[in-house]
């Protein structure tokens, strides 16, 4: 069984936000009013953490993209009363929207605030309704959603590999963010495949994971030579 994981090379990342835009488009993530977004109700599957260091004029800006970490020991799935979110055999933390009852326990349990809640039925910019991605369903008001590692793309590549009667190749299953990163700072692949790029990078001396001491075993790795 594969174990899908993502690596961000922060030394290459420019913080441009192309991953966030690609993710919104790919996954039909709804647009939220600016005031509501200010109130913390913005919907992002791929978020960006901002921090700065130092005083003007020598300010260093740090930006860190943050998807769902698809933890191997996920705290969110343990609190779901209806098993709408669970860890599947491919190491993906699934979110089955039609099963979700909107209790938001999982949001409270996630240490990384990776999950977001649909307070309203989705709203779209004018004209956007004509260009939904048909491979991803639209969520309704009252359900929790989050980054899926573009699991819908796995349907397609798995099937193509099955038709050709072969195993999946490294790099065949790529989420939209990794595909669209102009700096090639995002890597994606199977940790169980010892020849894959993410496996090698996950062993790099530059590697770290967010809040590693919690023991939730995130499958998203960050590479950075710079400290903290």
């Amino acid at each position: 069984m594969p174990k899908w994981a993502m690596v961000f090379d922060l030394d290459k990342c420019t913080g441009c936000g192309a991953c966030m835009a690609a993710c919104k488009m790919e996954n039909n993530v709804a647009i939220v009013d600016p005031e509501e977004a200010q109130a913390g109700r913005a919907l992002f599957w791929m978020d960006m953490i901002n921090a700065h260091e130092g005083e003007y004029p020598t300010v260093a800006i740090k930006r860190m993209p943050k998807p769902c970490f698809h933890c191997d020991n996920p705290p969110c799935t343990k609190v779901c009363p209806v098993r709408a979110t669970y860890l599947n055999e491919d190491g993906l933390v699934a979110q089955i929207y039609h099963r979700c009852i909107g209790c938001r326990y999982c949001m409270a349990a996630c240490p990384f605030t990776a999950k977001v809640f649909n307070w309203w039925d989705p709203r779209w910019l004018e004209g956007a309704t004509t260009c939904f991605n048909p491979d991803v369903s639209l969520r309704m008001a009252g359900v929790v959603e989050k980054c899926s590692f573009c699991a819908h793309r796995l349907h397609h590549v798995n099937e193509v590999a099955r038709v050709d009667d072969r195993a999946l190749q490294d790099g065949e299953f790529m989420p939209a963010c990794a595909e669209n990163c102009p700096a090639d700072a995002i890597y994606f692949g199977d940790l169980e495949n010892k020849d894959s790029q993410v496996y090698k990078l996950s062993r790099s001396y530059r590697v770290s994971r967010v809040m590693e001491d919690l023991g939730v075993e995130p499958k998203v790795y960050y590479l950075a030579r710079r400290t903290a």
């Binding site: 669970y86 599947n88 055999e89 491919d90 993906l92 699934a94 089955i96 929207y97 039609h98 099963r99 048909p134 491979d135 991803v136 369903s137 639209l138 699991a151 819908h152 349907h155 099937e159 099955r162 038709v163």
Partner: protein
Amino acid sequence: MARIARAGIRFVILSVAGIVLVAVFIVVKSYSRARPSQPIEYNHKVHIENAGLNCLDCHVHAGDNVAATFPSLEVCRNCHNAEPVSKSAEELKVLKYVAEQKEIPWNQVYQVPDHVYFSHRRHVTVGKLECSVCHGDMKQQTAPVSVPYLAVTMDNCIKCHRERKITNDCLACHR
């Protein structure tokens, strides 16, 4: 006494009539819901037996893609262009569409909701399943499909998957 009996009979007759009316209403209503009118009373049997066509001649992507797809007007035009080949009034409608170059707006009966991934290629080409397993004997179908042969429900998907030891991971079907 007689008056009470007459009133009782009237009450019975009225309520029976009421029940019959409601029943007729429900039947008509469900019948009209179960049968989405197709623009043309299409006949599978004559095309497979008399015209010698295969499923894949018309549902061209049933073997190599997610959706089987309905035939485009282009397919019908191969045989139905200027002169009618039968005495059917339905065929004249086809000829009208062909003359106007307007696609026939077929209604889909078998349909999974947008949050479910179902692929014909996976089941027909990889799984080696006959169309009839899910769609019944379409070769004998003389009128448009009105009710699915195998209802498109999660129970039916899961039952077959369990019998054949195929995954029933929610994420395999849901998206």
